[in-house]
Amino acid sequence: MTAKLQLRIIVGILLFVGVGLTAFKHLELGFPLLPGTKETVWTAEAHVSFRATGEPVRVTLSLPVNTNNLLVVDHSTAGRGFGFHIEEEGRARKGVWQTRNPSGEYSLYYRARVYRGGLPDLINALDAPASPEKPVFSQAEGESADSILAEAYEFSADNEGLALRLVQSLTAQEPTPAVLALIGENPSRHVRVNAALRLMHSAGIPAERVRGILLEERKNSSRLTDLLAIWNGEGWHVIDFDNAQVGLPELFLPWQFGGDALYEIEGGVDSSIRFSVIADQISGRHAAVTYNTEIGSSLIDFSILSLPVEAQNAFATLLLIPIGALVVVVLRNIVGLRTSGTFMPILIALVFVQTELLTGLVLFLIVVSSGLVIRGYLTSLNLLLVPRIAAVLVVVITLYIALSVIGFRLGISEALSVTFFPMIIISWTIERMSVLVEEEGMKEVFLQGGGSLLTAVIAYLVMTNRYISYWTFEFPELLLVGLAIILVIGQYTGYRLSELRRFEPLARKD
């Protein structure tokens, strides 16, 4: 009774932890539940070109920063003959290229991969600004500015409201005369943002320009866009000029903040800068791994994914073994199939994974049946057990060689994969089957041999299933769920499927 209760508790805990971790990885870390789920990843590139004047060159470029929704991973830079480093100056990141003896035209690239999901907003983390300098307006501008500000002031309660009202009037479909006078008809967005900045500054409110690229799902983009960031006394708030909304648009990749120049060149002329963003669809799983590695998620640091690739591959196979075990448990205890050797079918299934099913089956049958014939002869030699098994082992290896060579000669290269079969296991299988022939007859051999092969084939099919292999590798915590199922089956006292047949005559009588 207590054993049963204990088991229930253990199973409950296993299920909770296994399913919980899986859910966490899916929901929080973004690991897709299904293989083949795609996610957009952007490659953002800035391309600076200029002509060197012959003096030492120093190029400084603002670099994109993380947002709440986007994670930037520096990818590569190019600039032949230039040294490159990144300078972090509080709120901004800058890439610096330097060279001493330049000549001619130059092109410098900076590339970053941008993933979905991000870190705490850098913009929000910026320091409080000093009070802005009052901008200088001409007489006419000054009057318009005053009236615009007065109107906005009237219809707002705080800095943020004021900024919003300003943005609204600067972007209104039918601008007031004052707005027209200040920025003219159909001004560019740049001009509008400039005007907004000057207005805010003249009202004594710290405000900055945020430049960046609005990324698009599944689409390339290349235009820099301006947003307005204002200080409301406690923190920075970004206002989207397009819809006069507060907050950074979800897919906005900030590249430059404030008055700092987007790029600066010393020792070069005729410079220009181009941006481009390419949207790629990559596997969601890959995106999640890169992303979580980048932010140093401890669940990744302490998982298989932190191991070297070969070790990961080894585990990809190892993690299939419990699945095989589960199949064996189900087939033996619930279906009631008989197998020769409890876990021999799993090993055979693993071989099938490497050789392909049909090849594996044929090779297995050839090796085991010729082994049985030869072992049958060994019986009459009256050998001791260990030397006999050793002899079978040698026979098995000889069979491997013969099969490989003959197969290869005949142009059947599949025969070469016979070496995947574990020799010791095959030898023991032959030994056990041959004893079975002597003691219980051929029928039992076919029964158990067939049961083993059937189990191996089913285990193979399950183990090579795309979903199963994905889940076992990406969510190794599901092992715990497997363990829970095995424990439950371990206490299953109901009938096996085969018993429905075996005891059928008894049921009929009633």
Partner: protein
Amino acid sequence: MLGLATPRQLAKAGIVGMNRRNVELIAQNNPRHLYPLVDDKLQTKKLAEENGLDTPALIGVVRLTGQIKEVHDFLKPHPQFVIKPARGSGGKGILVISGREGDDYVKPSGSLIGFEAVARHINNTLSGLYSLGGKPDVAMIETMVDFDPIFDRFTFEGVPDIRVIVYKGFPVMAMTRLSTAASDGKANLHQGAVGVGLDIATGKALRAVQNGTPITQHPDTGANLAEINVPHWENLVRLSARCQAASGLGYLGADIVLDKSEGPLVLELNARPGLAIQIANGTGMAGRIDRVEQLIARDNPPEDAVWRANWSMKHLAAI
């Protein structure tokens, strides 16, 4: 439908399935540390002798390969004997010799084998061929049971043995296993022996099956199996009940044979007896087990083996 029963039908018929046997009957009643007592026939023999259970006499034990060459002379005074691996199971590695012809040994089937064959058999036994996991073993030589002629008509060579399932000291179900030509003198059901369910109260045949199908006549002798009526039945049932007390196993199968002169002898004890006995009896044993549980829970029955055997014979046959 399709020759399949539903789980509900089986439950209603009181069938105990493999999983229930393993989880409830074996795991809960048979402590692991007792297994060696019955898995090693040599220990069982000692146990039986200490507890005064009748069993075929031990002639000798071959423990080393070097001793094999002495066996021929050693066995001279014993025309009939049986060699078996101490840790064998399922009839594996049992060599029954029923007589001599010159230097040759006669098997129950009548075929002759030379001493080399016997030596090889012992050699195989010692090297563990017949034992679980291939572990090195010892070969036991015991007297062949001179079986009661009452069974002559019902068996083709070999000794028919009677399997009694004893649950917590109460014999709950019994059957006899009759060798056939197919089973080469051995009485193991999956080797083709005939299983005959026996009335636990009287030792009379209830029904017979071979390879899972009901039969009425012995396939080799043609005898009407319904006429089987095991003599010394009460002694036999009591002997089986005493096996529980001796071994401590709560769920055991006692294999008992009837010797012409010595009566019921314990051949071996089994800590994991199979379920085919239900088919041979034509009825499940869950009902009887429940009845025993009920008795234990309610009436605090005496430990005495004879009392328990008598109670079983009186109360269980009808269930």
